[in-house]
Structures are given as structure tokens and as C-alpha cells.
């Protein structure tokens, strides 16, 4: 830790839990700013970074709480796929006369939440490890999405959501503002509510927490449910952004989200990290990818860079004492 900062600054750096990440972000942005001769921090590019980071951030904020519990949620892509297909069916579209207007928001978010609750039930009541249960759910929901949509793409017509996803408020993309509000809400819940205490207690030591009388199952189901809500919301925004609904919209969302969660400092072993870590992780990953594109780094190298970043982030954040034998 640099001795450049006064003692107070240094202790905040250690205690905040995001000091390292903020430093990484500054360094990464610094490198790209120099490399692109300032274009990287132009208003236009910062706007793009914020708008591209919003949806991954929303997904990461949903996903990270499952990770804090000590589990993992691999159902993102399946939930998003089915939710997007539902949007195609219910929102103002080219193929049928449905138009549920703004009701699409509670319907889709609710549906995502329901999928999340089922994930939670599979994990707690049927005692299926979250790795398997969420992976299985993903395939089931994805398969349903493809079956229901028959592989067709449904073009969406004018609806209030499309206007929203492209709008800005004082130069900040509306989507980024939504992500920020959601981060604040979840962070406050984690810091100030009993539920938040339980979340970290279970992540730290589930056995002791259960013995202390906490309803571990209920907390877990709620956590999975919240994750599902967030996936549903992101599905809605994705469909509105692309003005079309297809089952493959969900593809390639999981890896960036897990990367974001790990890079942000949420330990895959559980008990450590919060919404601020997840959101910041998504921002760092997006800023990194955007910078690679702006710098015209060879696309052949970009995937390798992402992989390297993920491995490094996990290596630096996991608590090896918890793992015993590394499998």
C-alpha cells in the first residue's frame, strides 16, 4: 500500500473493501487514456462505458449474493433467454397483437424472480449443490426458450422501454442510473439490515449460523430470488436495447458476470464482498474491454486478456484456508 496517502487514507483503503479495485480501475483507465491520447476519457466514450457496463452490473449485483453465500448461480443465461422470449411474446411486437405496455416490467421481473426462487428451492429443499441445480435450470429454461420461440426472432415495435434504454439524464445513461440505484439499495440492505447480517454469516460459516438459530434456507431462497429478479430486469433492458427478442440474447452473459464478480473482489469461497464490489467489477471489466477496442488491440488477443484477468482476480481474492485441497 503506497505510503503516499496519510494514515487515515490508508486505513480507509484497507477497510472499504474496494480500495484495490478502485486503484486497479484508475491504473487501467490511465493506461488507456495515455494509449488513446485522451479519447478514452472523452465524454462520448465515458457515456459508452457506463451504458455498456449497466446491464453486466445489474446481473453481477444479482449474482454476487449467491457467491457470498458460498454458492454459485450459473442460471443467468437460461433465465435471460426465457425472459427475453416472453418479452417478445407480450410486448408490442411484429408477430402478434399483444401489447402489455409497462406491465411488461413487473411481469418479466417477477418471472425472473420466480425462476430464482425455484433455484433456491432446488438448492435448499432438494439439497442439490448450486453448481448443478443452477446449471440444470439454465439448460431447462434455455431449452424452453428455444422451444417456445421456435428459434424465431421477434422484432419489437415502439414501446416506452426502448426510449428509456437510450435516454440520458444530465449526460449519464438512464441504464447506468438504474444500475447505480440498484447497487445502492442492495448495499444498504447488506450493511444495515438483519438480512444482510445473515447473508454474511452464512457465507462465513453456515453451520454455526444455523446453530445460532438463523433460518438459513429462507435466506438462501431469498438471495436466489433476488438474483432472478435482477436477471429478469436485465433481460428486459437487453430486449429493449436490441428492439428484438430472440432466445440467443442470453448467450455470453455468464462469463463476463462471473469475471466481474471475481474482479470486483467477491471471494468465490464466500462471505466476502458486497454490491459495491460486484458493480465496480462490472465497471472494471467493461472499461477494460472498451479500452482494448479503442486501442485497436487484436481481437485474437482480447479473449486471452479476459481469461488472464479472471484467473488473476480469483487468485488474489479467494480465501485458501477455506478450500483445504484445491480441486
Amino acid at each position: 500500500m503506497p505510503r503516499l496517502l496519510p494514515a487515515k487514507g490508508r486505513s480507509w483503503f484497507r477497510r472499504s473493501g474496494i480500495g484495490g479495485q478502485l486503484l486497479s480501475l484508475v491504473i487501467v483507465m490511465g493506461i488507456f487514456t495515455i494509449g488513446t491520447k485522451g479519447r478514452y476519457v472523452s465524454g462520448a466514450n465515458l457515456q459508452v462505458i457506463l451504458s455498456l457496463a449497466a446491464i453486466p452490473a445489474i446481473i453481477s449485483i444479482g449474482l454476487h449474493q449467491v457467491v457470498v453465500l458460498g454458492g454459485i448461480d450459473l442460471s443467468v443465461e437460461g433465465v435471460v433467454a426465457l425472459c427475453v422470449v416472453l418479452v417478445g411474446f407480450l410486448a408490442h411486437n411484429k408477430f402478434n397483437s399483444n401489447d402489455v405496455g409497462l406491465w411488461i416490467v413487473p411481469i418479466i421481473v417477477g418471472f425472473g424472480g420466480l425462476a430464482g426462487v425455484i433455484n433456491g428451492l432446488l438448492n435448499t429443499k432438494l439439497r442439490i449443490p448450486s453448481f448443478i441445480s443452477t446449471l440444470g435450470m439454465s439448460w431447462v429454461l434455455w431449452g424452453l426458450a428455444v422451444y417456445v420461440s421456435k428459434g424465431q426472432t421477434v422484432p419489437l415495435l415502439k414501446n416506452p422501454l426502448s426510449v428509456f434504454v437510450n435516454g440520458t439524464l444530465l449526460g449519464i445513461p438512464d441504464l447506468a442510473l438504474v444500475a447505480f440505484v440498484l447497487f445502492l439499495v442492495i448495499q444498504i440492505v447488506q450493511d444495515r439490515t438483519r438480512f444482510g447480517r445473515y447473508l454474511y454469516a452464512i457465507g462465513g460459516d453456515e453451520v454455526l449460523t444455523a446453530q445460532a438459530g438463523v433460518n438459513v434456507d429462507r435466506t438462501k431462497i431469498i438471495v436466489f430470488g433476488i438474483a432472478g429478479l435482477f436477471y429478469g430486469l436485465s433481460a428486459l433492458f437487453l430486449a429493449a436495447e436490441l428492439e428484438s427478442a430472440q432466445a440467443i440474447t442470453g448467450n455470453n452473459l455468464l462469463f463476463p458476470a462471473v469475471t466481474a464478480v471475481a474482479v470486483g473482489g467477491v471471494a468465490l469461497t464466500g462471505g466476502i464482498g458486497g454490491a459495491k464490489n460486484a458493480a465496480l467489477g462490472a465497471l472494471i471489466v467493461t472499461a477494460l474491454n472498451d479500452g482494448l477496442i479503442l486501442l485497436n488491440v487484436s481481437p485474437y488477443a482480447q479473449e486471452a486478456v479476459n481469461g488472464f484477468v479472471l484467473v488473476t482476480a480469483v487468485a488474489l481474492t479467494i480465501d485458501r484456508r477455506k478450500l483445504g485441497f484445491i480441486k
Binding site: 455498456l52 421456435k150 436490441l242 448467450n251 477496442i293 481481437p299 485474437y300
Partner: protein
């Protein structure tokens, strides 16, 4: 969970497992009896049913299966080469090798293990799109043919049409989106663009990204590239799904209709985009025809009506032309191919032969 519920769950899972085992045994018995069945099964192995273009394979295959009165199995790799190979092996086992295949390999390199598997089982098959250049179809007696649409012609055509749309035709700047870098059609279409670029020194390719054939990724990549290059005249993409993503990004940047895009595949939305002045051109790869031709050839070989050994090398790996679509002929194409399905002449397998793949 209470002890009572635990016990119920325990015994439930015990019963559940027993029922599952019984079902598996019944299914296995059924499949054994299928093998003894003299009816050939038609099978297609494709990447996915979630892509509007790939779904056309299934549509065409189903129409053909109905016409010849045979059962059809649709296998999807879901972009997983291992799954693709495993499913093919399982299908061969299930049908007792009484099957005729049409295969679109997930990756060019998959063609070899697939060919070895089916050759060993004595199953006839036709492949499309992707195979390694140094692997020759004539080395495998049961590999009837590898067919592809002329990707080079596709990339050349769309690039040429795109450059015509510039304020000063043949003078301008473009960005580009490639598909999966390991796919043969991607490499061919990209080569087409490169050739047209070299003939048009006034056009500059500023940057390209690989959007993996995916609409969302194309949208994200285009958005980022537009920051680096706000002043472009066109966007070349290797397929229509990516083109649609690029169109969305251009819309947000206020460049709709001013900066056009091109793609490939011929999905309905792309035709609408061309009609609406948002896109310049695309190529209609008739997936329905692909599947029907492939299955017809496999079935004919299996029934002894097509003598694979006697085919000249040029008929073992070749390309056929696709349909070029631009702003002038889009209405006619929509009428002929989308609103109706043309009746395909499957009697002459090599009637559409345009060029051999060396």
C-alpha cells in the same frame, strides 16, 4: 427439514430412481427394436435451433422427411464440438447405423472425428460449410460430399454493394464485424471483403472486431468502435444477426440510414432493413435447400442410387451460388423465397454446382 419430511424425500428419491431406471431400460429396449426396423432414419446435426438461419435447416429437413415418409432426428451441438460428436455416435448406435446424415460441423476441425466415426460405422453423410482445407472428402468412401455456399462470392458481393452506397461511391471509411474466427465461411467472406478493398484503394478499413455471430456482441462492439471512429461511411458484417446489432448501435448514434450495413444469411429482419434503407445488401443462404439437398444425397447413397465411388473429385467438395439480395431485388426475393418455398429440383444433385473446393 423435519425428520418425517426427510424420510418422505428419501423414500421418494428412492422410488424416483427406481422409476427412472425402469424408464431407461424400456427406452433401451425400444431402441434395440428400432435397430431391427428397416426404415432409414434421417438425421441432421446443426449448431442450434436458437438461430433464425439454422432453424431453416430443420424446416427444410422436416418437409423432406414428410415427402419421403421417413423419421427425422434433429441433433444440435449448441456450439459444443464434444456434444456434437457424442450425439452423432449416439444416433448411430440408436439406429443401428440405419441412418442418413446431413451435418453442419460446429467447427472446421470437427469434420475429421465425425468423418472417422461415420466411416467406421458405414454411414453415408454430407457436410456443409466448415472443414479443414487439407482434409479431402475423397479419402472417406462414405463421406459423399462437402458443400458450401460460395463465401468468397458472398463477401465480395456485399462489400461491393456497400461501397456503392457512400456519398462518393468507392471513397470512404468502414468498420467491420467478423463472426467466429474459426469458421470457414467467416474466413471466406472476410477474404471477399479484403479482395474488394484491395481493388478500391479509396476505401479504408479502420477497425474490425469479432462479434461471434452474436447480435448483442455486435451491438456492444459497434457502439465502442463508433467512439473511436465516429465518422464512418459503412459497416460490413459477416452475417445478418450481427448486422442487426450494428444497426441498433448506429440508430442510437443517430446514423440510421446514413451509414448502411451489410450481412449474410437472409433473415427476414434483414430484408426489412434493406427495404427500410438501413442496410445495403445481404446473401440469402437457403437453409431449407441445404438440408434437403444434403439429406437427399445421403439417402440416395444409402439406397444404392448414388454411386459415391464413381463421382469425380470436383463433385465431392464444391460450392453452390447463393442468392444476392440488394435494395433493387429485395421485394422479389421476399416474394419468391420467404412468402413461398420454391420447389427444389433434387433430381440433379450437382445441378447447382458452381466451383470445386480445391
Amino acid at each position: 427439514m423435519s425428520v418425517k419430511i426427510k424420510k418422505t424425500v428419501h423414500s421418494f428419491s428412492g422410488i424416483f430412481l427406481k422409476i427412472l431406471a425402469l424408464l431407461i431400460a424400456v427406452a433401451a429396449a425400444q431402441s434395440v427394436s428400432f435397430a431391427a426396423d428397416s426404415q432409414t432414419t434421417l438425421a441432421i446435426s446443426i449448431r442450434t435451433l436458437s438461430s433464425p438461419y439454422q432453424v431453416m435447416y430443420k424446416v427444410g429437413a422436416e418437409a423432406y422427411a414428410k415427402k419421403v415418409g421417413l423419421p427425422l432426428d434433429v441433433l444440435t451441438t449448441e456450439a459444443n464440438s464434444q456434444k456434437g460428436l457424442t450425439d452423432i455416435k449416439a444416433e448411430v448406435a440408436r439406429t443401428g447405423a440405419n441412418v442418413a446424415f446431413y451435418i453442419d460441423p460446429n467447427d472446421a476441425s470437427d469434420a475429421v472425428p465425425i468423418a472417422k466415426t461415420l466411416e467406421a460405422a458405414g454411414v453415408y453423410f454430407v457436410t456443409w460449410w466448415s472443414k479443414p482445407a487439407d482434409v479431402k472428402v475423397w479419402d472417406y468412401p462414405h463421406w459423399i460430399a462437402h458443400i458450401s455456399f460460395d463465401g468468397l462470392a458472398a463477401g465480395t458481393y456485399t462489400a461491393t454493394e456497400l461501397f456503392k452506397t457512400f456519398k462518393t461511391p468507392g471513397q470512404g471509411k468502414i468498420i467491420a464485424l467478423q463472426g467466429r474466427l474459426g469458421d470457414t465461411p467467416n474466413a471466406e467472406r472476410w477474404e471477399g471483403l479484403q479482395q474488394v478493398l484491395s481493388k478500391n484503394p479509396g476505401v479504408q478499413l479502420l477497425q474490425w472486431e469479432s462479434a461471434q455471430w452474436d447480435r448483442t456482441q455486435a451491438y456492444n462492439d459497434t457502439k465502442a468502435m463508433l467512439v473511436a471512429h465516429p465518422d464512418i461511411d459503412g459497416v460490413w458484417t459477416a452475417n445478418d444477426d450481427m448486422a442487426m446489432g450494428a444497426i441498433q448501435a448506429l440508430k442510437e448514434a443517430g446514423l440510421s440510414g446514413k451509414v448502411l450495413v451489410t450481412g449474410c444469411d437472409g433473415i427476414p429482419e434483414m430484408f426489412d432493413a434493406i427495404k427500410g434503407g438501413l442496410a445495403a445488401a445481404t446473401i440469402l443462404n437457403d437453409g431449407k435447400y441445404q438440408a434437403q439437398l444434403g439429406l437427399a444425397m445421403s439417402l440416395a447413397a444409402k439406397e444404392g442410387k448414388l454411386d459415391v465411388k464413381s463421382l469425380p473429385k470436383k463433385y465431392r467438395q464444391f460450392e453452390i451460388p447463393a442468392v444476392n439480395v440488394n435494395r433493387e431485388n429485395v421485394d422479389k426475393i421476399v416474394h419468391d423465397y420467404l412468402e413461398a418455398t420454391p420447389t427444389y429440383d433434387l433430381s440433379d444433385f450437382f445441378g447447382q454446382w458452381s466451383v470445386a473446393i480445391p
